[in-house]
């Protein structure tokens, strides 16, 4: 194998699994250490810079970081990264003074942003302080988009949305609430320098099976119903409710229904339990509220009597896998199942819809009605029009919308400075020694097995009595400190210097995870088998260094390294050192140009 180039920004970034997995590449271990130090405001600002909505994401993020967490590989449960983020938001002091100020001078460029959801607000956050005139349009009176309309208040209170959307709008962003954009052509005619489409994926899929029309009064599209609930237009639902669908919207629907009078609420899903799209913790939350989930049932017919829904008939299916491992649901050959009900909520998926973009406005669409958008620059076929969030590539989640927003802002900033937007900026990287004394490091390197701490919940009875009472209470500072202590500080990297190494084996002997091997070089496949512990996790790199006196190489499997620094403590010559790797994605501004 070739020696590893640890100066490439991507190498250590990949070792910080959480930050690598995060679409916005938030420096997770850095802010967790700040939380442990009680510096909640500092932890919040690191988050805010990177993901714009720490309080919102700390409650609702899909947390791609957590399955990636190294604790999963060395223990079992990941660090509760998402809920620690919320701690930063809950316990920070007033951070208004630390926010960027509205630009005193404008640069004369005008940006229109369609939809006041996370993608548009991120673009505005990045561009407004640079002097851009940002105008955000939304059909609703308040900013927030789907964060406000589709996420139930018992998961995300309005106060949190207000606070964090206001931080953006206070940067001198013009918000035109209650102004729905109905024509792209008209908007283009207003001669903005750039237009950002962040209008989400606003259309819920329907279910066209017999009885749909006849029983329409009691059949509701999930996301529409959720926004009606959130706008206080709907206050009740029938006693017996069936929720169709297995995603997070279905979980929000069933839990909302429980709070609006649904006593017998059940979720019915086509797939098996494990294949459901809903996040495991959202399924757990539904289960905690006494909502059963029935799997492998495909809706066949809505039963109705005199225009009133009476039940749903389901066909039993089973999963079969073809030679390529693709799943197919085939009839199980068992009798149909009928559940009686008063209302049905259909949460079987969301679609993009752009009825307001004229097809001759200069924006190309593909055969599925999706705009053709560049995956890196987010530019459409119209050079002035950019897409971000769910509007760009279909439904994902908030953190992806934020990541898109940053990229859109970079594209616009470069474009309006006459630069090639395909040239993307590298991230800013720092690598700094962490040694404080003979056996002292700037971080807590004493790692031990420690199970994940549970977030306290409101008791069921009081939670179910209100549609607005937040269920999760969040970690208190003591629990947060304990949970923060589980972080393995994967951003404090083991850095090896071959010229200093005397090959005494001290690091090999002391490494608790058998990560380090001194051996003859070879091809990667062969080398992986020959290490002290075979390196079978191919998603994790092998750190190789040559230039040793014996002609061997040092090979370190990054897979389960605890970043405990014992190799550096035991090294007599300082050939091993612990260096903190800090990576920040370059946002719009002079640094990206």
């Amino acid at each position: 194998m070739k020696p590893t180039d640890i100066s490439a920004p991507g190498y250590f970034h990949k070792v910080v699994d959480c930050q690598w997995a995060c679409p916005a590449h938030t420096p997770v271990p850095e802010y967790i250490r700040l939380i442990a130090a009680g510096r909640y405001g500092d932890a919040y600002m690191i988050n805010w810079k990177s993901n714009v909505f720490p309080g919102i994401l700390g409650r609702t993020c899909d947390r791609p970081c957590e399955p990636a967490c190294r604790r999963v590989r060395v223990e079992e449960e990941p660090v509760a990264i998402c809920r620690l983020k919320r701690v930063a938001a809950d316990y920070k002091d007033d951070v208004k003074g630390r926010m960027p100020q509205p630009s005193p001078t404008k640069n004369g460029k005008r940006i229109a942003l369609v939809g006041a959801g996370p993608a548009s607000l991120t673009v505005a956050r990045d561009l407004a302080p640079l002097g851009y005139d940002c105008v955000v349009f939304d059909g609703d009176k308040h900013a927030g988009g789907m964060m406000r309309t589709q996420i139930p208040k018992f998961r995300l209170p309005d106060s949190v949305i207000d606070e964090e959307t206001n931080y953006v709008l206070d940067l001198g962003v013009e918000f035109r609430g209650g102004t729905r954009i109905d024509s792209m052509k008209a908007l283009l005619a207003e001669d903005y320098d750039a237009i950002v489409v962040g209008s989400g994926a606003p259309r819920g899929r329907d279910l066209d099976i017999p009885g749909r029309k006849e029983a329409a009064a009691n059949i509701h599209i999930g996301i529409d119903w959720l926004s009606s609930v959130s706008f206080d237009h709907i206050h009740t639902i029938g006693k017996r409710v069936i929720v169709l669908g297995g995603g997070n919207t279905a979980m929000d629907c069933c839990r909302s229904a429980r709070r609006l009078g649904g006593e017998d609420v059940k979720v019915v899903v086509r797939s098996g339990f494990d294949e459901m799209k809903a996040s495991p913790w959202e399924k757990e939350d539904a289960a905690r509220e006494g909502i059963p989930i029935h799997n492998f049932l495909v809706p066949k017919e809505f039963l109705h009597d005199g225009g009133k829904l009476t039940g749903v008939v389901f066909e039993k299916v089973k999963a079969e896998y073809d030679a390529k491992g693709r799943r197919k649901l085939v009839p199980a050959g068992e009798p149909d199942v009928t559940f009686a009900c008063d209302d049905v909520l259909v949460a079987v998926g969301q679609e993009n819809a752009f009825p307001w973009i004229e097809r001759d406005a200069g924006i190309d669409f593909d055969e599925w009605g999706m705009p053709k958008v560049d995956k890196v620059t987010f530019q459409s076929s119209h050079p002035k029009v950019f897409f971000g969030g769910d509007a760009a590539f279909g439904p994902k989640n908030i953190i992806w919308a934020v990541a898109h927003g940053h990229e859109v802002a970079v594209s616009i900033d470069k474009m309006l400075h006459g630069e090639n937007i395909a040239d993307r900026p590298l991230p800013a990287v720092q690598v700094v020694n962490q040694k404080m004394g003979i056996h002292e490091w700037s971080y807590k390197n004493e790692v031990m097995p420690d199970e994940r701490y549970a977030v306290p919940h409101r008791d069921n009875a009081s939670a179910l009595s209100s549609i607005k009472a937040e269920v999760e209470l969040g970690f208190d500072p003591n629990l947060a400190l304990a949970e923060a202590g589980r972080c393995l500080n994967c951003d404090v990297e083991t850095v090896f210097s071959a010229p200093l190494c005397i090959e005494c084996d001290a690091c090999v002997d002391v490494c608790p995870m058998d990560c380090i091997t001194f051996t003859d070089n070879g091809e990667e496949d062969d080398l992986r088998q020959r290490l002290r512990a075979p390196a079978l996790n191919l998603t994790q790199d092998i750190y190789v260094a040559d230039g040793l006196k014996t002609g061997r190489i040092m090979a370190k499997d990054e897979d389960v390294c605890l970043h405990c620094g014992l190799c550096a403590e035991r090294c007599p010559t300082g050939a091993w050192d612990m260096n903190k790797f800090f990576l920040e994605v370059t946002h719009a501004g002079p640094a990206c140009r």
Partner: protein, 351 residues
């Protein structure tokens, strides 16, 4: 060194041995030796050997004297018996323990100061008597605990860290062990576990006095240019005569060797030692030749390592003394005091 205990975490694929222990189960408290100490590597090699042999930790007694080396039994086999004795007196304490309970595995750990100076006489007599033990000397050529004076094994002409040349002749413990009749004699290097671990395993399986001289560079006081016991010097002058594969009892022998290249030695317990020859003229069964070979190569400035001599038919102190086969602590009153009738019979036989 480090003050931190090694985390309890281990690699997910960490294997278990025949009695269900992992290598980590043979570890002990955190070493307080200097960072990079060769002794820590030897401790790691002992851990590895005990793990691979599936030794029950409570069947081992670790006995040591005084010095950096003699601290190390605290850092391996934490669940075994231990006795940290007076300076240079490990061999007699070990001999006594062995006489009292012949069923345990005796691991004597000593250093060049402990064995070649203050305990030189003890070293000689334990080997001479053929005590069934593994006697490991962690040999760094300096007194590390008192900041690096030459020890008795430092080579004449080698240079101290302060720049002083050694004017005394050195004691070669391996040559003396051969002369005194040790029945398993080896030399190795802390920086080469692939050689050291099989030697320790073979020594544990050997019946009789097994002696291993392990050159163990002192990183703090004897790892500089001019030292003949530095990592670099030993690597450059290491002359391995053979490479050892230890085949335990029922293990299927899967290694294929080129004919003529291997000497197989079956020990009393059925363990097969396959010695792959590196030096063709070397015969580990010939004590006289071994002694000559060592002297010849020492004169050339080479450090001969490997399994230098083994007598697979060796007896030990117990068979020489014809002692009772049961450990003393298992002898009950009936066995120890067979009664007046038996006494009469014995007395009658002596009239």
């Amino acid at each position: 060194m480090t003050y931190l205990a090694k985390p309890k975490f281990h690699h997910p694929s960490l294997p278990k041995n025949a009695i269900g222990f992992t290598r980590r189960d043979y570890e002990a408290s955190t070493s307080t030796l200097c960072a990079g100490c060769g002794h820590d590597s030897i401790s790691a090699a002992i851990i590895e050997a005990a793990f691979e042999l599936s030794i029950e930790p409570h069947r081992v007694a670790k006995i040591s004297g005084i010095g950096c080396s003699s601290k190390t039994p605290d850092y391996f086999l934490g669940a075994s018996h231990g006795f940290n004795s007076v300076h240079g007196r490990m061999p007699s304490v070990l001999t006594g323990a062995n006489l009292a309970n012949r069923d345990l595995i005796y691991l004597g750990v000593s250093g060049d100061g402990d064995s070649a100076s203050i305990g030189f006489g003890q070293f000689a007599h334990a080997l001479r008597r053929g005590v069934n033990m593994v006697y490991i000397v962690e040999n760094n050529g300096v007194y590390g605990l008192t900041k690096g004076q030459f020890s008795a094994t430092a080579d004449r002409g080698s240079k101290s860290k302060k720049g002083v040349f050694n004017t005394d002749n050195s004691i070669d413990l391996v040559s003396i062990a051969l002369q005194l009749g040790a029945t398993f004699v080896a030399r190795s290097f802390s920086g080469d576990k692939s050689q050291l671990v099989p030697l320790i395993k073979a020594a544990i399986q050997h019946r009789g006095a097994a002696f291993i001289d392990v050159i163990s560079p002192c990183i703090a006081f004897n790892n500089h240019a001019g030292s003949t016991k530095s990592l670099e010097y030993v690597r450059a002058h290491n002359e391995a005569v053979n490479a050892l594969d230890v085949m335990i009892g029922r293990d299927p022998i899967t290694v294929n060797y080129a004919p003529g290249k291997v000497v197989s030695v079956t020990q009393h317990d059925g363990t097969v030692l396959n010695l792959r020859k590196i030096n063709d003229e070397y015969d580990p069964g010939d004590r006289l030749a071994a002694m000559n070979f060592l002297q010849k190569h020492a004169a050339l400035g080479q450090i001969v390592t490997g399994l230098l001599y083994v007598d697979s038919e060796a007896d030990d102190l117990h068979s020489n003394f014809n002692t009772v086969s049961t450990p003393l602590n298992q002898l009950d009153t009936a066995a120890l005091c067979p009664g007046s009738v038996t006494l009469e019979t014995i007395n009658d036989s002596l009239r």
